[in-house]
């Protein structure tokens, strides 16, 4: 593993990511929960919205993003509460590395989990509803950008919510109102790609998504220190 006593920023980030991924691939608790949950949500939407051919085209992106958002909070909660419960977070904070390295490490591993779930759910959705347009690069880029924004804010807020009394209940309540811009613009941009809209129509939400990602990753990075300090 890391041998030098003062690892560089990137080494520290990589170490946190590696730790999370190793732990997850041994237990698979988080991923399996997120996956099963996502499929259940899609199942519920299928009947709640009666996803027939005409309806489906308009709401597909909304269904997918709502699913990712719900599954995302599940994963974020779990990923941070394991740190808190077993005192791992204190251990991480004691490490002689920049605190923001811990933030990026956690955020990247959360992002990886979310992307893995999406990488399984999207093809499944395509298969179930015969929706081949999911696999265009534009749509996948929106999925990536949306996930980045959501996870950046989510990682910060989950670090806050696990330290409260109402921990698990609190995360979605804190996260959803703040993450609405990212979800709305992601839905808008993905619907654009799925319905084959002009790029001129897709650019505004896409730009907004990029702006949100930049602002909120930067802010989360700057204030993470204040959230974990003891």
């Amino acid at each position: 593993m890391v041998s030098s006593p003062h690892p560089s920023f990137f080494q520290a980030v990589a170490a946190v990511v590696r730790k999370d991924l190793t732990a997850e691939f041994r237990s698979r608790e988080l991923l399996s929960a997120m996956l099963v949950f996502s499929l259940l949500v899609i199942l519920i939407f299928n009947y709640a919205l009666e996803l027939e051919l005409g309806v489906r085209e308009k709401v597909a992106a909304g269904v997918l993003w709502a699913t990712f958002a719900f599954a995302g909070t599940l994963g974020l909660n779990r990923s941070m509460s394991t740190e808190k419960d077993r005192g791992c977070l204190d251990g991480l904070l004691l490490a002689p590395v920049d605190r923001s390295a811990i933030f990026f490490g956690k955020a990247i591993s959360n992002l990886v989990f979310m992307l893995i779930v999406e990488a399984i759910v999207l093809p499944l959705y395509a298969l179930l509803y015969n929706e081949g347009r999911i696999f265009q690069p534009g749509f996948l880029a929106v999925v990536l950008l949306g996930s980045i924004g959501y996870i950046a804010v989510g990682t910060l807020l989950s670090a806050m919510s696990v330290q409260t009394r109402t921990r698990d209940v609190l995360l979605p309540i804190l996260l959803f109102p703040v993450a609405i811009p990212v979800l709305l613009s992601a839905v808008k941009a993905s619907t654009g790609f799925l319905t084959g809209a002009e790029m001129a129509e897709i650019w505004p939400p896409l730009n907004l998504l990029i702006v949100y990602d930049i602002i909120f990753t930067a802010v989360a990075f700057m204030v993470f220190d204040a959230v974990v300090e003891e």
Partner: protein, 228 residues
């Protein structure tokens, strides 16, 4: 125990008088709007409370940054004070807007960007209080509150832009319903600017009182700790 400063007492009374005067101007002095009728009188307080609400939320984000930089608990007291007042005023804004919308738009609510953003913004600050309620350590509560107030203040304008993406082809009626393109007669303007002024003074008065309350609260907490 310090008693209430005289200036604050004067401000309390002034606020009450201003509120009464603003009510008179809005309900009696201002002429009845030709198309919408008397219900349009809600407009003066609608904008007045909205202005104060938004002012408080912006202030809270700035104060949040001030806390994170200085770690001085006085900023936390100020931050809570402004958000608490703003949440109430913003709620009044939404209620008044709804009352106004019912006869003019023929619905209590529609998903216009402003309305939706207002609702989401209100939810952000309700979440702010839920976050604070879950924390006992005052120092941590202050830190988390500051971070969340900052995130909320940043996300509100982006939310507005995001929602507008969905409403780009919305009828123009909605856009003009909220004030700036509403043609105002000079008497209406008097009532309007007076309401803005009155609510600003009321905000300052409540703000000051709430900060005092916050200071007394933390003093009580310290005394409790000393006894134990």
């Amino acid at each position: 125990m310090s008693s209430k400063p005289t200036l604050l007492k004067i401000l309390d009374v002034t606020s009450l008088i201003l509120l009464g005067a603003a009510t008179y101007l809005a309900l009696v002095y201002a002429p009845t709007e030709r198309v919408m009728g008397d219900v349009q009188r809600v407009f003066y307080f609608h904008i007045g409370t909205a202005w104060v609400g938004l002012l408080g939320f912006v202030l809270a984000a700035v104060v949040g940054v001030a806390y994170l930089v200085s770690k001085d608990l006085k900023w936390d007291i100020i931050g809570v004070a402004t958000i608490e007042i703003s949440v109430v005023f913003f709620f009044i804004t939404i209620m008044l807007g709804s009352i106004w919308a019912r006869p003019t738009w023929n619905t209590w609510w529609n998903w216009d960007p402003r309305l939706t953003t207002a609702a989401i913004t209100e939810l952000v600050y309700v979440a702010y209080f839920m976050l604070r309620a879950g924390l006992e350590d005052p120092e941590r509560r202050a830190r988390f509150g500051a971070v969340y107030a900052l995130l909320g203040g940043l996300s509100a304008p982006i939310t507005f832009m995001a929602i507008r993406l969905f409403r780009s082809i919305h009828p123009v009626v909605i856009g003009t319903g909220q004030g700036e393109t509403l043609p105002l007669s000079s008497d209406m303007k008097v009532a309007f600017f007076f309401a803005l002024f009155a609510f600003t003074v009321i905000f300052i008065d409540l703000f000051w009182n709430r900060i005092r309350l916050g200071q007394l609260e933390s003093k009580v907490e310290q005394l409790k700790l000393k006894v134990m």
